[in-house]
């Protein structure tokens, strides 16, 4: 993509004693992207964010925001970035209005400029009805909106969000993403960590970190085409039938079935290309499942990450 680079990591490394939390991670993110950063708990996601925000000193390598080095030019990146930590750091004793005022002042806003910006953010996040409520009494979704508004007071060009949707109900989650798309359309580069695959699918770019190493990084559609995800001589099938869990038990250990997992009313299978459809129908019939609708499918992002994780584990084992 030709867009200018906003966030750049070059062999970024963080060691805590003998433990390497982030191991030579390199990637670059263009302006206006929505970058989804995925990986299991403890894989190093938050550590990368903290280094990019200038909170943690990298042990090795470099991080740059808009060309400024995060370790040496920390004060220069501060006005450029907004950070929403995992815990939505708000002051519970302060009302919504006061939290906004506090963060605005912290970033040097005052007088009419402050009031104008505060009103803009209230309108953007629809916090109007809750202005006089204490932040501690807000529900998860509204706390989230407030935290987001607070991290935007100074019009940052990059917004880091560390698991912004953890513990939020689906409706609030959807609304939050609508807001994120709005920020993105305003040219803000978003860097989001998440565990939700549906959220990853919404990102323009995704990176997957596993055991401190960046396993893959790129456009979601490109990732689905990776050879690791689609090993030669295999195909992916969607099998819709009654009693999917019974069906899964019946076929999962058969020869030619490489991976099998349940998705609601259907199973997703990775099978040998030569495996005949009738073989599956016979096995299912043996457990009294007479009707099965079998369709070829493309891999999902979840398939991508499962395949990549297994692949790195195998590599590690060898």
């Amino acid at each position: 993509m030709p867009a200018e680079t906003m966030i750049e990591c070059e062999k970024l490394t963080k060691r805590f004693g003998h433990f390497t939390a982030v191991d030579h991670v390199s990637f670059s993110i263009g302006k206006g992207s929505i970058f989804g950063f995925l990986g299991p708990n403890g894989s190093g996601k938050s550590t990368v964010i903290r280094m990019l925000c200038g909170l943690l000193e990298p042990s090795d390598g470099h991080g740059r925001i808009a060309g400024f080095d995060v370790a040496r030019e920390t004060e220069k990146i501060k006005p450029l970035i907004g950070y929403m930590s995992q815990k939505f750091s708000l002051y519970d004793e302060l009302t919504v209005h006061e939290n906004l005022t506090f963060y605005s002042r912290l970033y040097g806003l005052r007088g009419p400029t402050l009031a104008k910006r505060r009103e803009e953010l209230i309108a953007l996040t629809h916090l109007e009805p809750y202005l006089e409520q204490r932040a501690g009494l807000l529900s998860g979704g509204w706390r989230q909106r407030l935290a987001m508004a607070c991290s935007l007071v100074h019009r940052p060009r990059v917004l880091f969000l560390d698991e912004p949707t953890a513990g939020i109900d689906p409706v609030a989650r959807r609304e939050l993403w609508d807001l994120l798309f709005e920020f993105s359309s305003q040219g803000i580069t978003l860097f989001i960590t998440t565990h939700y695959m549906d959220e990853a699918e919404r990102c323009s770019h995704v990176g997957y970190i596993y055991m401190s190493k960046l396993v893959v990084c790129g456009d979601p559609d490109d990732l689905k085409q990776l050879p690791v995800v689609n090993p030669p001589g295999t195909k992916r099938l969607d099998v819709t039938c009654d009693h999917v869990t019974v069906g899964l038990q019946a076929i999962r250990h058969e020869r030619g079935i490489l991976a099998a997992t349940v998705f609601g009313q259907s199973m997703h299978l990775l099978v040998d290309e030569s495996l005949p459809e009738q073989f599956l129908r016979d096995k299912l019939a043996a457990v009294n499942i007479q009707h099965a609708d079998i369709q070829p499918i493309a891999p999902s992002l979840e398939d991508v990450f499962v395949a990549l994780t297994n692949n790195s584990n195998n590599e590690g084992a060898e």
């Binding site: 909170l55 501060k78 950070y83 995992q86 002051y91 002042r105």
Partner: protein, 373 residues
């Protein structure tokens, strides 16, 4: 852009709201010091009065009853019972029924009239040294006075040849509160204020809000001063309350100027709050902060001259005392409140306290890293 106290007004605004909205913390900042003040003030009373005494009068004469009366008239003793033998008397003291046993042997009146030394035995419970010392001094004084009186009568004199006329300055009634209460204020202020700032920064770390502050362009001096100022106001408000209790409840007169009193207190509270902030840069959680505060309170109680005079301490404890801001504050308070000293007379104390305060404040701002981990 390069303001050294960047973020100060934001932190100040937030901190004032947080402090005033948290009735729990506010209550525990104000209530215990006031209770401690009253309790300390009453408990730390060295004036020994009306201590329980059992009498074993084997003489049973007018003269022997007179000597018992002399004991009671000093106000130091009160008779709580009569015993018949030494075993009973020892038991009464051992059981804590009496601190003192007065034994007048059978030959007391006879010896007195015969011009021989008449013996009176006083048994004192030495397990509390202050009480024992007071009982001892009073008994010796009674015996001496009695002896002098009878000698005067024999010699036909009306006046004693030499008389010392002591005049106690600044605390003429030798009231204990006058001595202790200014010290109590010093210690109580330390307990309340050090803990307040120590907790306030540690709590931000625990709640994760500190990270949010650290990604902002706020300066560490702005953060520290913004954290300190609200508690300085609260500390001064509290000190005013403590001075009021001292003056109205314990009737301690304030001889010096109120301006000197408050100026010294302001410097002292600033020093304590800086100490609290320094603790918060070191402590990882509230438990550690609490332990560090408690550890620092102990020497202030024992080595500051609050209870025990520093002059009689071994040099090492004396040296420890001279490192404590509380030591200087207590000496200043006694000077200003009791002796009406002026600030210029005690410039050294003020200079040391100010130096400590500024050094601690600078140290915590410099020690505070704008990074985590």
């Amino acid at each position: 852009m390069k303001a050294p106290f960047r973020g100060f007004n934001a932190i100040l605004y937030k901190e004032f709201i947080v402090v005033l909205r948290d009735p729990f913390t506010l209550f525990f900042m104000f209530f215990p010091p006031l209770i401690e003040m009253v309790a300390f003030g009453y408990a730390l009373d060295n004036d020994v009065k009306h201590m329980a005494m059992v009498v074993m009068n084997e003489d049973r004469s007018v003269e022997s009853r007179q000597i018992v009366d002399n004991f009671v008239n000093t106000q130091t003793f009160r008779v709580v019972g009569e015993v018949q033998n030494v075993t009973e008397m020892a038991a009464a003291i051992r059981r804590g029924k009496a601190y003192v046993g007065l034994q007048i042997p059978p030959g007391f009146t006879r010896d007195l009239h015969a011009g021989r030394t008449a013996h009176v035995q006083v048994l004192i419970d030495g397990s509390s040294s202050t009480i024992a010392l007071s009982a001892l001094n009073t008994s010796v004084a009674i015996a001496l006075r009695q002896s002098v009186m009878s000698l005067l009568k024999e010699a036909g004199l009306r006046e004693v040849p030499v008389e010392v006329r002591p005049q106690i300055l600044y605390n003429p009634a030798m009231k204990s509160p006058n001595f202790f209460v200014p010290g109590v204020i010093g210690v109580v202020l330390q307990i309340a204020t050090t803990f307040a700032t120590a907790m306030s920064l540690v709590r931000e770390r625990e709640r994760g809000t500190l990270e949010q502050l650290l990604v902002s362009p706020m300066s560490r001096w702005g953060l520290m001063l913004g954290k300190l100022t609200p508690y300085l106001c609260i500390g001064m408000f509290m000190a005013t309350g403590l001075f009021a209790i001292m003056h109205w409840l314990f009737a301690v007169p304030i001889a010096g100027s109120l301006a000197a009193l408050f100026a010294s207190t302001l410097i002292y509270v600033f020093t304590l709050l800086s100490l609290g902030l320094l603790i918060s840069t070191k402590a990882e959680n509230s438990m550690q902060a609490l332990q560090m505060c408690m550890t620092l309170i102990m020497p202030s109680v024992f080595f500051s001259g609050f209870i025990f005079p520093r002059e009689t301490m071994p040099w090492i404890f004396n040296a420890i005392g001279s490192l404590l801001p509380t030591t200087y504050f207590i000496e200043l308070m006694r000077a200003i409140i009791l002796r009406g000293a002026t600030m210029t007379e005690f410039w050294f104390h003020l200079a040391v306290m100010s130096g400590m305060g500024l050094a601690l404040f600078a140290l915590c701002a410099l020690r505070f890293k704008k990074k985590i981990g």
